[in-house]
């Protein structure tokens, strides 16, 4: 019996601590102080202000928001804020614009991510090479990332303006169009214009992340590949991409979440119009909030969180690296 107790104490941290305390020895080689109720109270007291702020400004809004999703909570009429069960969720799905919003969100995420990844990768590969004024090029390419999304939206709204915009002017001068295109006024072209703006804006992030990852690849790998006579495409697919696979996966995951939650540019550029044709889920949620229907907006917010959580879990499972692959 005593043998079993001793072996347990040896194999677990708590057991070791318990044994030490029993022997009256200080923990952690004599540097760690004994944990007492009084010390616990001291720690709790120092942590209390931060805990209160986090509770008030993070957890309370989260809980209140979650609660609102199941209540009739309209700022325009607060005389009845009773529980309504799943009505707000049903209202979200029953909205005639919901199908358009959902489709737009898919187009917005996929149509942004794929070109951003491809162009960002190409830029990173180009910037990895040593050439004159490389620093200047890097600075110029990374510059857009420093500007706010809303501002980019306003900038592109003017670029795509049908009457005075540079885009139409250039296309007309190049002889590609006869008369100005109402880019943002026509539902067929508004989403295209918004995507072009977002691709331009987001390429930078991919370029930064991929360039950082590329710089971690040892030159010896490329030298060995060159000695073996590997072609450029083979080097790309068998050395470069596998080596930075984790970075690529995490960058794509982060960007999907960010783009999904990125209403700024659309608000600055089209405000979700015309006729809701450029609304995505998050701009739609803001629009509902502006209408004062906090219940329905909260329901939509919960749906967004759930969708992104499910996506993140599946994406990480699908892209996780198997042990020993890189070795």
């Amino acid at each position: 019996m005593s043998v079993t107790s001793t072996s347990t104490a040896k194999t677990t941290g708590s057991g070791r601590g318990e044994a030490s305390r029993k022997r009256g020895l200080p923990q952690g080689g004599g540097r760690r102080r004994e944990f007492t109720t009084r010390r616990g109270l001291q720690i709790a007291a120092f942590m209390a202000p931060a805990a209160v702020f986090v509770a008030v400004f993070t957890y309370y809004p989260m809980i209140a928001g979650g609660q609102m999703a199941f209540r009739n909570w309209k700022l325009t009429d607060l005389t009845d804020t009773s529980w309504v069960g799943l009505k707000n969720f049903r209202d979200v799905f029953a909205d005639p614009a919901w199908g358009t919003v959902l489709g737009n969100t898919a187009v917005w995420v996929v149509g942004s991510i794929v070109p951003q990844l491809v162009i960002g990768f190409a830029l990173a590969l180009w910037l990895r090479r040593r050439f004159r004024f490389r620093g200047l090029y890097q600075a110029l390419i990374f510059f857009p990332w420093a500007i706010s999304g809303f501002l980019i939206g306003i900038l592109f709204r003017w670029l795509f303006n049908s009457e005075f915009g540079v885009v139409n002017d250039l296309l007309q001068k190049a002889g590609l169009i006869d008369e100005p295109i109402a880019w943002l006024a026509d539902p067929k072209t508004a989403m295209v214009a918004v995507l072009i703006a977002n691709i331009w804006y987001g390429v930078t992030f991919f370029a930064i992340m991929i360039l950082a990852a590329l710089q971690s690849i040892p030159d010896e790998l490329y030298e060995a590949a060159a000695l073996d006579g590997a072609s450029k495409s083979r080097t790309l697919f068998q050395i470069t991409i596998p080596y930075i696979r984790t970075t690529l996966a995490l960058t794509v995951l982060l960007r999907v979440i960010w783009i999904f939650n990125f209403p700024d540019l659309i608000f600055g550029m089209t405000g979700g119009g015309p006729n809701n044709e450029t609304h995505i889920v998050t701009t739609w949620m803001i629009k509902i909030t502006q209408q004062g229907d906090y219940g329905r907006a909260s329901a939509l917010g919960l749906l967004v969180v759930a969708a992104l959580l499910v996506f993140a879990v599946f994406f990480l499972m699908a892209t996780r690296e198997k042990k020993g692959v890189r070795s």
């Binding site: 007291a45 700022l75 049908s162 405000g271 015309p274």
Partner: protein
């Protein structure tokens, strides 16, 4: 030592929490501080309000006013959140479109008893007195001025197009705007409102076509009791309005709201604009068009030669949660009478609330004269009250704006749109009974 450390930690925590939660205590000197929140904020207007507040403070040394000026786009929402919390607001800007839901939620103070016997009423126009009372006679706000539509037009462009005077009817507006419209030269006929609040101009057109039939007490109702959207003339109005977009408006105006419309006229690219009087100040400052190039004309009429002035208004009210109601009402009174009111309406380009303004040379000349013309001819320019105070007004606006955009994008027809609007209001009024 440990006890001291624990006491210090608990003390720090308590102090931080308490300073975060405490409210300002009333000043020992007896001075009262009022929090005043404006809604239609812009920097010039805020400076103007600060000057008026300084005068008020000088006359009332025991009252200080703290002016809060949230950005216009978020102001109403921020105000709602502040009002919902029940404190932090004493005096606030209340609009005809917010008074319904806010009073319904119990956020506004009825000033009726406080303002009984107030001399300010005698100096006010009938419109202003009427606008300050709701259907049950309660006074949730005192208007500071009115916003009413008039037609801004380019004198030089219509002359070039062969017209000697500005359009007097909606049909003439389509004719003149189409004649001026030439996208190849980047010259456009009409600054169309297709985005935010597009429903307001569409209903103005409908009301003009039905002028004599509209119930003065409810601009969306015919004297027969049916909605204005059910009348055959409403369809004519919307067909004409659609032509105005197709033949004479820039394509991008499908999403234009207030700033884009005003910009299009101010930068000289558009010949006509239907807007409120505060635009006079903006256009006057334009460097693209000179004073001699533009003017204003009365609101265009329907085929019967008459029109309806859909006056919009806003004013100052007191929050129900205010702890200093007497002082707050005093500030509302100060802003709504005499020099303060005149200064505010003139510098903010509003249709005035005081009777004395009609004899003021400021309003009788230049771009303001069209408003005087409309005021002096009440049989041609009928004043009606739109049902802006109903709790569902915001919901209506969103629905109607979306429908107008669908119409001009060709996704619905005037007939379907009007049938939908008729059904909407009929149902709402039935629910109300």
């Amino acid at each position: 030592m440990r006890r001291r450390t624990a006491a210090l930690a608990l003390g720090t925590a308590a102090a931080m929490v308490l300073t975060g939660c405490s409210t300002m205590s009333p000043e020992a000197s007896g001075t009262v501080t009022l929090n005043m929140v404006e809604s239609l904020t812009n920097p010039t207007r805020t400076d103007l309000l600060k000057d008026l507040i300084a005068d008020f403070e000088q006359q009332n040394p025991k009252i200080k006013v703290n002016l809060v000026s949230p950005p216009t786009e978020q102001a109403d929402q921020k105000l709602q959140q502040m009002l919902q919390s029940g404190s932090g607001v004493d005096v606030l800007e209340v609009r005809d479109i917010t008074v319904g839901p806010w009073s319904n939620n119990g956020w506004l103070y009825d000033m009726k008893k406080d303002l009984d016997g107030w001399k300010g009423w005698e100096a006010m126009t009938e419109n202003a007195v009427n606008a300050s009372k709701d259907a049950k006679g309660r006074t949730y706000f005192v208007p500071y001025g009115f916003y009413g539509l008039s037609l801004f037009y380019r004198k030089d462009l219509i002359k070039e197009a062969g017209f000697s005077k500005p359009p007097a009817t909606w049909a003439e507006l389509v004719e003149q705007a189409s004649a001026v419209h030439d996208p190849a030269k980047r010259r456009y006929g009409y600054a169309f409102r297709g985005g935010a609040n597009s429903n307001s101009n569409a209903t103005a057109a409908i009301e003009a076509y039905l002028a004599d039939q509209v119930d003065p007490a409810n601009g969306f109702k015919l004297k027969s009791g049916r909605t204005i959207f059910s009348a055959p003339e409403a369809q004519d109005a919307m067909e004409n309005y659609l032509e105005l977009f197709k033949q004479a408006s820039p394509k991008s105006s499908v999403s234009w709201g207030y700033p884009e419309m005003v910009e299009a006229f101010s930068n000289g690219s558009t010949a006509f604009l239907l807007q409120d009087p505060e635009v006079i100040a903006t256009v006057s400052e334009s460097k693209s068009i000179s004073k001699g190039q533009w003017g204003t004309a009365p609101l265009v009429a329907g085929p019967g030669g008459k029109t309806v002035q859909p006056l919009a208004t806003a004013g100052w009210g007191v929050a129900k949660g205010s702890g200093h109601k007497a002082e707050a009402v005093k500030l509302v009174e100060f802003l709504s009478q005499g020099e303060a009111s005149t200064t505010f309406t003139k510098k903010n380009s509003l249709v005035p609330i005081l009777k004395s303004a009609t004899s003021d040379p400021f309003y009788r000349t230049g771009p303001w004269s069209s408003y005087v013309t409309m005021t002096e001819q009440p049989d041609t320019y009928l004043v009606v009250t739109q049902p802006r105070g109903v709790t569902w007004w915001a919901e209506w606006q969103q629905k109607a704006d979306a429908d107008v955009q669908k119409l001009i994008l060709g996704k619905t027809t005037p007939k379907k749109l009007l049938a939908g609007w008729d059904a909407y209001w009929t149902e709402k009024w039935q629910q109300e009974q």
